[in-house]
Symmetry: C5
Subunit: 264 residues, 5 copies
């Protein structure tokens, strides 16, 4: 009993730790998540076999280091966490990291890896992309532009899906006008789902073996499925050489939720 009481205390400290948001950090985070010219990194990790063998007290000690590293870097990078275990087969955790410079992201991931928690993490994948101003939207008809301003439904969107995309050489060989035409058909197919499926696009060419990383949030997975089905039916899809492989499906979690789940 005494032991579990001590552990409960340790756990309380861990959760209630110095995870205070001050206005400045929040503002920086907002900028990183909305502006063009920001680097987004998707880092996928699996917990190794030794994690399962750690006793709960030790796990809590390790998880404290995770909290510490995130705390220490949150002034420079915006960090979001996702639980993949149970929904994706190749990784347990996804970190989405936004930064003005990839060096800041590398520094965070180096510190994470050399933390007490990091030694239980196996790096499964790292993908980078860049946010940019919309390419084709300026040429779309005005009603479509208006439609695109629809804000997604408020409230929680527990599911997140990441789909890496690579286009064919034929796609890039088309002239801008032809591509714009097809992107308009593509965009029209997405309109019915703008409210229930939130999207964000990252440009990857050269930073990775991808051209784009597409990121989605939703509370209605069935709508997301219908959206993808619609996108498979437009002409532009024939110029897609890789779509997924892997498709990454998980649930958004706060750092505290992740800590609580992994402590078990």
């Amino acid at each position: 009993m005494t032991r579990s009481f001590v552990m409960a205390l340790m756990f309380m400290c861990l959760i209630a730790g110095p995870w205070l948001t001050d206005a400045q950090a929040a503002a920086d985070r907002e900028k990183l998540l909305t502006e063009p010219g920001v680097y987004g990194t998707f880092a996928l990790f699996a917990l190794n076999d030794e994690w399962a063998k750690q006793d709960p007290a030790m796990r809590i000690v390790r998880l404290t280091s995770l909290k510490g590293v995130v705390e220490q870097h949150r002034e420079h990078v915006a960090i979001d966490l996702y639980l993949l275990r149970g929904l994706s087969d190749h990784a347990d955790l996804l970190f989405r990291i936004h930064a003005a410079e990839l060096r800041a992201t590398q520094e965070f991931l180096l510190d994470l890896k050399s933390s007490q928690f990091g030694r239980y993490l196996k790096t499964v994948g790292v993908m980078h992309g860049l946010t940019k101003k919309p390419n084709y939207v300026p040429g779309f008809p005005d009603p479509m532009k208006a439609d695109l301003k629809a804000v997604s439904e408020p409230g929680q969107h527990p599911y997140a899906i990441v789909i890496p995309v690579r286009k064919s050489a034929e796609w890039w060989g088309l002239d801008q006008e032809k591509r714009a035409e097809m992107m308009q058909e593509h965009t029209a197919a997405t309109l019915p789902y703008l409210k229930s499926v939130k999207r964000k696009l990252y440009h990857s060419s050269g930073l990775d073996d991808l051209d784009f990383i597409t990121y989605f949030e939703t509370s209605k997975l069935e709508d997301f499925h219908s959206l993808v089905l619609s996108l498979e039916k437009v002409q532009e899809f024939r110029y897609t050489r890789r779509f997924g492989s892997p498709t990454i499906l998980g649930t958004m979690k706060s750092l505290d939720e992740i800590v609580e789940l992994l402590a078990q």
Copy 2:
């Protein structure tokens, strides 16, 4: 002798445990297995090297936790078990899980993985699909619709086969009418096998690197082979980019049978 007597007792308790079906749970399970709008997850696991080194008493202790986790979640998810070992090369066990929300499935798999038994499981694959009302059947001629209502032969269908499918971009680029025509040819090819091979279809686009998960049960594997051969010969098959890879073949087992087999 005393030791094996104790172990036999332990084993009896394990098998005869609180695995009671109450009417409500059965009704929920029935709904999950028959209605559209349900998520089906196929989770493939391999037992790691350490399992083989556990002595039988310890295995029984571990298997008790498996029973416990399944018991605890069966109100929210419908769980079916399959033994792949000996018939498939990449996994030992398959869990087919039906749920109204993938979050419920994730919670079950998280608890499974953090159970005493779960630490011996290596996740080999996770695939998700959604049940939907038939797409093309409403447009089929009436005699075919009548044929499709044939119920499969009663009794046990010990073999289960799971074949993941991805269609080509060309398929999705065809108009609905052309696809319906080819699906009618596809369906005609399946009619001779409706009684001996039970089928269930899951739609996966966006949830996974697949478009469909096709699931089969049969007691006559030779009939199933003939069915697949027929399906390879119809026009629609030319629009299939991935068929299997892996093809998953196993035998359906009750939780108690699995426990008994793994305890050895």
Copy 3:
């Protein structure tokens, strides 16, 4: 000295064990190896790193369990063994198992895996096929039918080769007549090698990610090479999507020879 004497005794017992063929088992085996409607399974295993660390006495103990499992199942399944080590890079042993039902094969492989020897085996691959009456032969001209009745040369055929095959969707989309025509050209190319290369065909569609498993035995590998070269030159080969990958090459061994070789 005493120790090696004991080990020699142990080894003698192992080799001279109750591996007695009674007439019934031999008849059943003959049927399984020649009739249509039989399932053939090719199970590939690698010995893990721990096997190399066992001392010879312990190996002999483990190998006794291999003999026991094979003995116990030989009434229901016909088992052939091949040594791949040194000739194939991904596996050390191949079991070819014929059974009237795949469940019987699964039971054998489960018992093999949970035997004392089985814990040193890593499953590398499992492929299944079904023997069927010849598809195209009935339509061949009579002289070719007569040629096909040639029996292979008596005596030992030490080399065995297994080549998995998958045909393209285009192949299955051809009409039966066109396929028969090409299979006649294919068969004509094999005639010069009928005597020196023994062949057996298994149909796999749906049971595996294959359409066929082709199995060969020969004492003249150079003839086998010439046969494959001839088959690559006929029109039907252009409809082959996968040929090998892996090609499995090994030598046929009796159970006693395998035991003797692995005991070293």
Copy 4:
């Protein structure tokens, strides 16, 4: 405290060690990095799981051997180091080695691997290429030749990217004139980025499963992204069978920086 004082001392010695550049070595290095007929090797390593378990004092001892090996070989080979961890998912360190003969490179890598540090390194990839005089430039118009003489911006270029390239058989089958024409279009697309993105080309055919290794340095990753996007749009890109896979992204580090980072 005493222990950390000793460790600090050890670390000082490590960093301040005999890493002295004499004029001759610098001159040789300059030649290796600029002349044609030099072999460039890109060797990728991951730190194994045991490295994370070493205590800091032991790590410093190991890293001393890394410094020693580099020191010992720098008369014969020019060695550059890059930190990939956090930015690439399959490796932690990249060594770029230039030598007049690949045997000298092999000797360095053998000594590295058998050093005290080397036993913690898992070789993830080795690629070789040869520097050659420009193939197509002599035929370019004079203004383009002048543009190509632009020197890249001075100062640090912290990011390095390595993209392996394999051309299609169709590319090599084109006549020299057609290829020269397309390379001129390719080169024109690179002109806007000559100042902010430094490039170096290695020819690999036969030395590796590649035709080229393209190496980039930049402080502006967004410019590099735009450069790659431009290159994807020219006609020559359609003749590229492999571009990346993997794309290797890291930051340039001095040996001392690497030692300092890994000591943590």
Copy 5:
């Protein structure tokens, strides 16, 4: 000191051991290396992690077993050794073994694997081919035949390269005359390199997932690169489905050199 003296002695014995060439063995070796109808096996091995942990004295003991196995089999098989470490990423050692029968090769590799040294070897790849009389040369014009008789430059050719090749189904579907014509163009492209790059061809169809294994020796890697580049430009190259993957690059070593290098 005493210990290193003993180790030096052990090492001397190892190197100076009974590696005596008698005239008969030399003659047999010569025949195996030059005649048609001989099987060539390329066996690739990586040293496992435990090797790096052995102390030098133990390594020498292990290496003695390597020498013993090679000694014991050299009457029946011709064995050549290559050091890949540092130049290839997937293996450390290559054994090229020529034998009149693949069974003899299997016996050597079985003994190697079960030797004291063999337990540190991980089999990475095994490829087989058959030497045959030239297929197309008899039909070449006389001046080309004369050119092909040029002997390669005397002296050491330290680099060896192995490139596995698979032709497309289209290649084999061409008639013999068309293929002969293209092989003449292919051969013409190799003439400038006959002296500086030594070549040997093995036919693999059916023995492996390959059609050919091409083997090269040179002291001028740049010439070898130019040769491959020339071969990529001839028409026949368009019918090549696999070229390399992997390309194996290493340096030729005597058994004593390998022993000395691995003892370190």
